[in-house]
């Protein structure tokens, strides 16, 4: 890294008279050093096994904050919430649980808090979050509320928050379109048509 320094001053035999330029160069060189260390880290050892995979995946996990207090007024108006690409994961016939993914967009200026999901084909629907513990183990756990921030989207996916259907009453066929009902903490609901797809 020190070899970078001579290349700044050597082409010109004059002593550097611009402390600002020198300081800038030094700053740039240190940024470059940090970047190069980061680059080297990219190919660094996987000796800790899964722990290295852990750090890669971290930014993908959507952090869930404490449930936002539900608005007290129950409005009869339609929910300002849209669902896109709603997908139920196709599973083998003997498997009775599956996950549901979609992108929810809250078009209002107030947060919308999901409180549940139901489907005619499943005994139970759950809101799930994905968590990784200190040992790098990933697991899903049920949560009571999934907030969709005001004017923002919530992506329900295999790597983060999602919905789960348990106690499937019959095998689902890939390509099937099934209705789901999302409920919110203020007592409203949204009907969503989801497509059964193989991952």
């Amino acid at each position: 890294m020190s070899s970078a320094q001579p290349s700044i001053s050597s082409p010109n035999s004059q002593p550097v008279r611009q402390p600002v330029a020198l300081a800038l160069s030094l700053a740039a060189a240190s940024v470059a050093f940090v970047l190069s260390v980061a680059l080297a880290q990219n190919t660094a050892a996987a000796q800790q096994g899964h722990m290295s995979g852990h750090s890669i995946a971290e930014p993908l996990a959507v952090p869930i904050t404490a449930p936002v207090a539900a608005p007290l007024s129950v409005s009869a108006a339609a929910l300002p919430l849209t669902a896109q690409n709603a997908t139920i994961v196709a599973v083998p016939p003997s498997i009775t649980e599956t996950s549901v993914f979609m992108t929810l967009r809250n078009t209002s200026s107030k947060p919308i808090v999901l409180s549940g999901v139901t489907s005619a084909v499943a005994a139970q629907g759950m809101l799930m979050i994905t968590r990784r513990d200190a040992q790098g183990r990933t697991g899903m756990s049920e949560t009571r509320a999934l907030p969709v921030p005001a004017g923002r989207s919530l992506t329900l996916s295999a790597t983060g928050d999602h919905l789960m259907l348990t106690g499937l009453k019959r095998p689902l066929k890939a390509g099937e379109r099934l209705p789901l009902t999302l409920r919110t903490s203020d007592g409203r609901s949204l009907k969503v048509t989801a497509v059964v797809r193989k991952p």
Partner: protein
């Protein structure tokens, strides 16, 4: 005292005539940064000649052998390096609604994007971390539904040893009854070359990048073939 007035004049005279304009300094700084980054890149390539998408093992480590029962109920022995296959190995369970289907499905997409000759030298192995509820029959349904893979069942005592050998870990969670629970587990897929060495691992969140995972597999398939030709 005499120095004092001399300095400003020197600065004034030097600057327009021989002083370095700011943009020259800027260009030199850019050159320096390029040198440093280029050096770092060369250094990284020397350490790992292939830019793996997954996390590469700096020093390839010998993968541990293990025995179990496969999805057809037959004895299965994983003996790295003897079958000359490249193996993508991960730990999972069939009640897993999310990570395991995703891992199987994307590893199968990787398998299918290989040539038939490469496919013959590549296998996907799922080791069940739920010996209490998983059975070979259930594993067969699972691994054939999401593609083509080996689903291996082994007793808890053997499983804990294998998991430790690979740095994998699993733990029951959300236990509602003896048959209703989830299992939290590490989500790495380990790629083992034809010489039986651990070369790279991917987290399950990386697997949807099928092309990049395939490139890693192709490199390991290729380098393994070269290593095989040398002796």
């Amino acid at each position: 005292m005499t120095d004092h007035p001399a300095n400003p004049t020197e600065a004034v005279t030097l600057h327009p005539s021989g002083g370095r304009p700011w943009y020259v300094s800027a260009i030199l700084a850019v050159c320096a940064i390029t040198l440093v980054l280029g050096g770092a890149w060369v250094f990284a390539r020397i350490r790992s000649p292939f830019p793996f998408y997954g996390t590469a093992y700096d020093v390839p480590k010998q993968a541990a052998a293990f025995k179990g029962t496969d999805q057809d109920g037959r004895p299965f022995a994983f003996t790295p390096a003897t079958d000359k296959k490249v193996t993508a190995l991960f730990f999972g369970f069939t009640h897993c609604p999310n990570i395991c289907p995703l891992s199987l499905a994307y590893l199968d997409k990787v398998r299918l994007s290989l040539t038939p000759a490469e496919q013959a030298r590549f296998q996907v192995v799922l080791v069940s971390v739920d010996p209490a509820r998983d059975t070979p029959e259930r594993l067969r349904e699972y691994v054939t539904f999401f593609g083509k893979a080996q689903g291996i069942w082994m007793a808890e005592s053997a499983l804990s040893r294998v998991a430790r050998d690979y740095g994998a870990s699993y733990q029951k969670a959300d236990i509602k009854s003896a048959t209703e629970y989830q299992i939290n587990h590490t989500t790495a897929t380990y790629l083992i070359d034809a010489e039986g060495r651990l070369r790279v691992l991917w987290d399950y969140t990386q697997l949807p990048q099928v092309e990049r995972v395939t490139a890693d597999v192709r490199y390991v398939l290729g380098s393994a073939a070269q290593a095989g030709q040398q002796p």
